[in-house]
Symmetry: C2
Subunit: 155 residues, 2 copies
DNA sequence: GGCAAGTCCGACCGCATTGGTAGGCTTTAG
DNA sequence: CTAAAGCCTACCAATGCGGTCGGACTTGCC
């Protein structure tokens, strides 16, 4: 059970955009170098974020990307949904509208998914955790990493 | 972000064992037929559950599997951990002892994982959702599926 | 106008994992 | 002794992921 690197890179990308909170855009090349990520791969990820309306782009020379909204209004469930396609704990869950997904097993009377209850709870746990985290929070955490006692010790 | 079918099948398997709550063991063949799952694959999954001490097996004719503990004491985080290997939202999280996993990126001073905060929260959300669900609950849900209003409507 | 710096877009590729199968062993009730 | 069951190892096809390449198109700037 893991998110792919799309989510990881995409969130990192958003954080970088949040740090350079000026008006003028930041090029992907600069971000890719700062995070040491492959540029071509970042392009595809940025496309996902743009399609979801989280970032805006200006083309041509001195172009680049900007956050389409203030970092406080960007919650991580929007980001991960855009990057990962869906937030479902099991592949029998199919997208319904957006974010909210449901089990798509044969609903024929008896039986159904007995595991549906479990995966639905897990899904809600994930989505709520993501919703509670804003981009602004991550940007701030990135700025002063030593301040917060997260009980996650890096050996 | 999905669990594999190991988790799905494994939980289904546990539920079946919970339903036949008698003393004498149930053969995998019976369960595989009841859930229409490939038998050989179920064997490997049952091995995972056994290694984790969730089920006990008796070999030979009329043998099979039994829950090693009462269904009320089996929480889903134990099950999923046994089946899936680890409960980590990102593959840069490496297993620490069991269940609790941590980011294993280069901890060299500046930077570190700025996304660590996010994935840690998600991980906690998943684990808490799993811990709150016992096998007994799923068995009961399986018995009377119409009684609980889960807001998950099967169209 | 031309050039360089950017975003965009599609095709392609190696690799690891997943889901599943096959076959053969060992154990044990009847 | 035999059939029913657990066990165990090796194998295999398909999928998706991470990543690359090449080429468009746009645009500021000299």
């Amino acid at each position: 059970m893991i998110f792919t690197t799309k989510a990881e890179y995409g969130v990192r990308l958003l954080i970088q955009l949040g740090r350079h909170g000026n008006g003028h855009p930041v090029s992907l090349k600069a971000i890719a170098e700062a995070e040491s990520l492959p540029l071509a791969y970042c392009e595809r990820i940025a496309a996902l974020l743009k399609k979801a309306g989280l970032v805006a782009s200006t083309r041509g020379a001195h172009g680049g990307y900007v956050l389409a909204r203030p970092a406080e209004e960007i919650t991580m469930d929007q980001a991960v949904l855009a990057l990962e396609g869906a937030i479902a704990p099991m592949d029998c869950f199919v997208d319904d509208s957006d974010g909210r997904v449901q089990c798509s097993h044969l609903g024929d009377s008896a039986g159904a998914c007995s595991t549906k209850l479990l995966w639905t709870r897990v899904q809600m746990g994930v989505i709520r955790s993501l919703q509670r985290t804003t981009l602004a929070e991550l940007v701030e955490f990135d700025a002063k990493p030593a301040a917060i006692p997260t009980s996650v010790s890096t050996s």
